[in-house]
């Protein structure tokens, strides 16, 4: 047989032994740690990816929540503002009303006062005028009745008028 295709027992033996040794050494000291490390790393990456996905979901959930909260807050703010405005308007209206009433009351009081003062003043003036009139009349009368004859004439006249 052609030596090319005739396996030599020596090389068969040494190949078997050498390959067995190589396989044992590599399997124990190279492939096991390498495959282990690769698997670990792959698991780690997968884990990290799924965690990232979860984080993303959580994030979007939080964002949605935040948005809802923000919306709610905005609505609340609007209502509060509206209420405040209402209250303010009310207060202003009330204040105006009160001021108005107070003003009217004051004016009324002032009017009454003025009226009173006027009455008092008028009374005073009347008294003064009466006194003055009496004084003037007294003075006139006094002047007129300085002359005795005149007094007698007047009495006579008056007596004439009296009809008994």
């Amino acid at each position: 047989m052609n030596p090319l295709v005739t396996p030599e027992i020596g090389l068969v033996f040494w190949t078997t032994v050498s390959f067995a040794v190589l396989f044992f050494l590599l399997a124990k000291f190279a492939w096991k740690p390498i495959m282990g490390a690769l698997d670990d790393r792959e698991r780690f990456i997968e884990d990290a990816l799924s965690k990232a996905e979860a984080a993303k979901e959580e994030m979007s959930r939080l964002t949605n929540e935040n948005e809802a909260l923000l919306k709610q807050a905005r609505i609340e703010r609007d209502t509060i503002l509206q209420e405040a405005k209402k209250v303010k308007d009310q207060i202003i209206a009330d204040a105006k009303d009160a001021a108005h009433k107070e003003g009217a009351r004051q004016i009324e009081l002032a009017r009454i006062d003025i009226h009173n003062q006027k009455t008092i003043a008028m009374a005073d003036v009347k008294n003064q005028v009466a006194a003055l009139s009496i004084e003037i009349a007294e003075k006139v009368l006094r002047k007129q009745f300085e002359d005795q004859g005149k007094q007698d004439a007047l009495v006579a006249e008056l007596l004439k008028e009296v009809k008994l």
């Binding site: 090319l4 020596g10 090389l11 050498s18 390959f19 590599l26 390498i34 690769l38």
Partner: protein, 360 residues
Amino acid sequence: MKSKIFTLLRICAVFLTLTAFSIPAFSQDEHAEHAEGAAKKFEPSEIILEHIADSHSLHIIGHAQLPLPVIIYTHKGLEMFSSAKFAYEAGEHEAEAAGIYKGNYNYKLISDKVKIVNEAGEVDEAASSKLYDFSITRNVVSMWMSIVVLLIVFLSVSSAYKKRQGKAPKGLQSFMEPIILFVRDDIARPNIGYKYQRFMPLLLTVFFFIWINNMIGLVPFFPGGSNLTGNIAVTLVLSVITLLVVNLNGNKHYWQHVFVPGDVPVWIWPLWWVIELVGIISKPFALMIRLFANITAGHIIVLSLISLIFVFKSFAIAPVSVAFVVFMDVLELLVAALQAFIFTLLTALFIGTAVEEHHH
């Protein structure tokens, strides 16, 4: 890691230095070739076959060869000596006894194979057939070198994974990781299924062993150039490993399919068993032949192209030859990876059919 490589380089340097000293003592070819002279016709097929076959010495450069240990078992027991002994004898004895080493028997290298010869140097075929040669040949040395390289590379990669736990790969680690992942994700997982993890060490070892040895074979000078994965003995061992792994891991369904084919009429069963048995054997057999033929063919083509220069005895042909050789070498680089891939892929596929869960 750097210091490791440096140490390796130093070891190589020492090794080469020692080799250089041993060269002058071992140059048996020189006298013979000078004597025969230039008149000797150039035989490309002889040269090529010599290059792709195994050898008892390491060819370094020119006529410089490094002797390797010869380990022989005969019924008289185990013998171990340097292959240089075949040469030493040449100087001391007469021409007919040249290259004979006298151990338990008279041994001589006939076309680089140890044979038992008589005193006259004639081969004793009957005795030679009972000789078992366990020598550390060129291919064995080449294989050990590849194993050393594989161990250095992958133990350092492995330690990188331990040191840089949880971090991104770096350097050699980042070069090897995609290849390892390729074996896992494109060879093991799709063919074996979820049980792939159990077979990863084997598939990775087979893949890198074949690949690196294919590539070492492409290096045209020492310490490369051996035709390890193009040697039928090596591919035989690899395919027998596949055969054993596939069939030892065969599950109930696998064996049921082989021995108790439900839909087939009972009277065909014996024929069915024969066919299935042939199938079981032929699958790894094809693996063996495929790897052997591809790598050997590549070597033969490259060597033939180089031989053209000597056949035509012209430097003019050299550029053409070299251009084709470069092209072939690039192609062979692809084939080196491709054959490693195919061998591993088919092994995974066969394992996959053996461990597959049937749902019908």
